[in-house]
Symmetry: C2
Subunit: 202 residues, 2 copies
DNA sequence: CGTGAGTTTGACCAGTTGGTCAAATCAAGA
DNA sequence: TCTTGATTTGACCAACTGGTCAAACTCACG
């Protein structure tokens, strides 16, 4: 247990290696399915050495989740109320789709946690996430009031975007089992763009 | 291990109780997160007694998955090539949404399996599921060729329906954390109906 | 009733898992 | 170089897990 001074070079390196390894293991096997030994091996450390940097398996998991939550919510944060409504929403969708393509482990990490009832991030959902979504649905509703986009249920609009974009990362195996060689994202991008353009154009 | 005669009354009752309990436990905690003790307790049996009916934890899991796969795919099976195209698709969506509302455990069972790479049903995906989807996309493509519905990527159309409808069961916690008291399905039904009507109407 | 198959259980086992600890090793500043 | 705190490790532990087994019990049916 290092004292709470400024972290040393080694501390920074090993903590980063552990979190990287934990992301691999937790996202592939879920919390319960991941073992500390596995994470330690993947990080190139012995188990006791890993537990020198994090007090427990759960601590690694929550450190990962909380650390990645802001990364995960960044695309929605960027939704700009002063931009062109339809383009803002389409950009948001594109950012989410890119994240599914480029950060599938992060997506599956949250998917694993959510599908099992979010026992470890339930609080963040009903505070941080809810606050962010509430804030952005106000903007969406204003755009609808101003006749800039079609009137639809703003919460379900956001849910649909999450569902559609994250599906490609979370259920990747299924998508690939059906599409075979075809790159999922090649077809997905124009599809979702058309979908939301038609939905939101008056 | 009962002989392979006709199952007795007790066998039928206990096997059903085990599968019901296993559905609860596996869907809530995933394969690795579920314990045989937990399933036995929930089924009202001792662990050795449970293992008298199923040879192993994995056997219970695969029995569940394979038994439910056809239930799960039934809505798509019902998509009728002789029906009115848009109405057929909308009915399919409604059936899937009903399943999310009425059978969320089944949805999460598959979600858990898929998000972890489908180690135990990979074969069923690339054979049964792929065959079914291939068959139905032919119908969708024909409808598009005949100018009955808009031309979109048929596979991604199906993926989007899965994503949207199953989202409400699989990520239920998240949806409820944001919607609060509001019934998710009340808003979801008209939303998805509008969405696909706009997408598919020429 | 009796009897044989079907059912249930307590005791047990080996492997795994998260976590501890004292001792050994290493690194960097005085 | 020397010392002190940071880092690493092998040995270990208790709890849990999936699974086994022989013995006990129960049920249906002749």
């Amino acid at each position: 247990m290092p004292k709470d001074r400024a972290p040393t070079r080694i501390q920074r390196k090993n903590r980063a290696a552990i979190l990287e390894a934990a992301l691999n293991v937790f996202s592939a096997h879920g919390y319960r399915g991941a073992t500390v030994d596995q994470i330690a091996a993947e990080a190139g450390l012995s188990k006791p050495n890993l537990l020198y940097y994090f007090p427990s398996k759960e601590a690694i998991h929550t450190a990962l989740l909380t650390g990645l939550l802001e990364v995960w919510l960044a695309p929605l944060h960027e939704l700009n109320e002063n931009g062109e409504p339809l383009e803002e929403i389409l950009s948001y969708i594109r950012r989410k789709l890119e994240m599914s393509r480029d950060l599938p482990r992060e997506s599956r990490l949250f998917a694993n946690e959510l599908v099992q009832g979010a026992p470890r991030i339930h609080d963040a959902l009903s505070s941080d996430l809810k606050a962010l979504v509430d804030e952005k649905t106000v903007i969406l509703t204003r755009w609808m009031d101003q006749g800039k986009i079609s009137r639809v249920h703003p919460y379900h609009l956001i849910f649909s975007i999450w569902a559609l974009t994250q599906h490609y990362a979370d259920f990747d195996v299924q998508v690939r089992a059906i599409l075979g060689d075809e790159d999922p994202f090649e077809g997905a991008e124009p599809f979702v763009e058309t979908l939301y353009r038609k939905l939101l154009t008056l």
